[in-house]
Symmetry: C2
Subunit: 321 residues, 2 copies
């Protein structure tokens, strides 16, 4: 870790987040020294956001700071893990202190909300790019894996799907102006990682994933890892009015293939459904049943008119698009 | 973590490294699940290499893969930690399978040599950039910190210093041709992380840092963190014949301010010197005493002609240069 360079970020950051007792040594040495809790395992995930690929150059830096952490916290949520520590490697074309302070503010506010401490990082000069690694804890027996789905499981998703993709489309069309667009943009720019929901589901759901590539693509990941198929009742998809209007026009792309939602998609054994719904209700986490896992390979989409199709739109994959 | 994209790297990587028993779940889910050992703490470090900033566009991809991991292992070495797991976030302008396979080979060979397992990562498209995070274990009571130096400590450095900076200079001058240059280039392109030395020093040295910014700059980090000064006898610096020739011409820049050496700079209490030298000798790790830590602030350089100066060349700092 490069010390003097990263001081810049540490200075902005230190006012915003507390000190965790399990951080023996934070920023400022060759390594951070951390004390994981006994009895739980460490869950880690790393993600990179690149300008022009994952965000537009004109994005609000505070929103970008939020999102860079949120997409990683979402991976912890999808395992049912409790967030603890984060590292941040940021490459900047120039040092714009106003921009950087806003970025760190957005990042630090979300970190503080989840009691996450920044424990290390690196700053380099180059084309704008942000890599974040999160570290959390989970009882390995309760961790949510993609591979735990079983035929007969009922399939659920949290929140609503498709808003972020529709917001991006409307931004590109220069059509984002009203209150509804502000709500869609908030979903694109400041996604909510479903950390509390993930912890509710740990030990209760059979399989889970966060919806980052699109509902269909991420469902395919669960199906492939679990060796099952799925049947999705499209009339039950939880969508905002704007996305519902698109679906009504026959454009299911946003709801099915829109990435960047960061909702949780999960499957629950039939005998656990009541307990899961009660726990989600008690935690104030809205979830919607949308179908089931089945023995038959592939994903069958049941359209509102009763038509069934296995043709699903592709999700977001940097190297395929 | 993006699954399908990273498959590319996993495919190339999986033949090259073994499976560690402490990896409960590796690549392929939202998070990796890891089992840190009881009684030791986790040491982590993250570093980014950017094309044109940290390496030349024409660099051998296998060497780049080696170096991306080596600079991070060097941070573990500087804490006295045992390497265990690594994550890799790589941004590529295009997918050149020949290039990527060579990169992964270089990375994986060094990983295998240190029993390090790749447990997660991300691939994105954009300007070439590589971020690596390493994870190791160390007894917190034995960990080497920058802040442990005491006035009276004797100061040591491993290997030789200045080779990488001289190699880069000769590359830029188009003057790198002979056998000597091949040796210098190997020091620049394939640095050796001093992991075994770090573990020998753990609990024996008072302070340590790896020489990534340059000997003087990194010594300054130890001095600032420890609240001491230092006195360095330049006639004792361990240098290769090529760097010695530069010093003889009065150009101490390479030896004192050349970054990218990845040697360990460490201080040892006077009563521990014999034990440290014996342990280093037994481990086959060459180290050289170069001075001492002192009460007086600043770094005093004692030149071979007896002149003493506190003017030291600046090290490498992306945001200062």
């Amino acid at each position: 870790m490069s010390f003097s360079e990263f001081d810049l970020i540490r200075t902005y950051f230190s006012h915003a987040t507390g000190n965790r007792g399990d951080v023996l040594l934070g920023i400022g040495d060759d390594c951070a020294l951390l004390n994981p809790p006994a009895g739980r395992c460490l869950a880690i995930s790393i993600d990179t956001l690149v300008e022009g690929r994952h965000f537009l150059p004109e994005v609000d830096p505070a929103a970008l700071g939020h999102k860079a952490l949120a997409v990683n916290l979402s991976d912890l949520a999808a395992m049912g893990a409790e967030p603890a520590w984060v590292t941040l490697a940021i490459t900047l074309p120039t040092v714009d202190e106003v921009w950087l302070r806003a970025f760190v503010d957005g990042f630090a506010q979300l970190a503080a909300a989840h009691d996450v401490q920044l424990v290390g990082g690196d700053t380099t000069r180059g084309p704008l790019s942000i890599t974040v690694q999160v570290h959390g804890f989970v009882d390995p027996a309760l961790a949510l894996r993609r591979s735990g789905g079983r035929a007969g499981d009922r399939l659920f998703v949290s929140g609503t799907v498709g808003d972020a993709a529709l917001a991006l489309q409307r931004l590109r069309d220069n059509a984002a102006h009203g209150t509804e667009d502000a709500c869609l943009l908030a979903r694109l720019d400041r996604p909510t990682p479903r950390v509390a929901l993930g912890r509710v589901l740990a030990g209760r759901a059979n399989a889970a994933i966060d919806v980052s590539d699109g509902l269909a693509a991420d469902l395919r990941h669960i199906c492939e890892a679990s060796g099952v198929g799925a049947r999705v009742d499209l009339s039950r998809l939880p969508v905002s009015p704007a996305v519902a209007a698109a679906c009504d026009r026959g454009d299911w792309h946003f709801a099915l293939a829109g990435g960047d939602d960061y909702e949780l998609l999960f499957s629950v054994g039939a005998d656990q459904v009541d307990a899961v719904l009660a726990a989600c209700g008690a935690a104030g986490e809205p979830v919607q049943e949308i179908g089931s896992l089945v023995d038959e390979e592939g994903i069958a989409l049941v359209y509102p008119d009763g038509r069934v199709s296995k043709e699903i739109p592709d999700g977001f994959d940097h190297f395929r698009t």
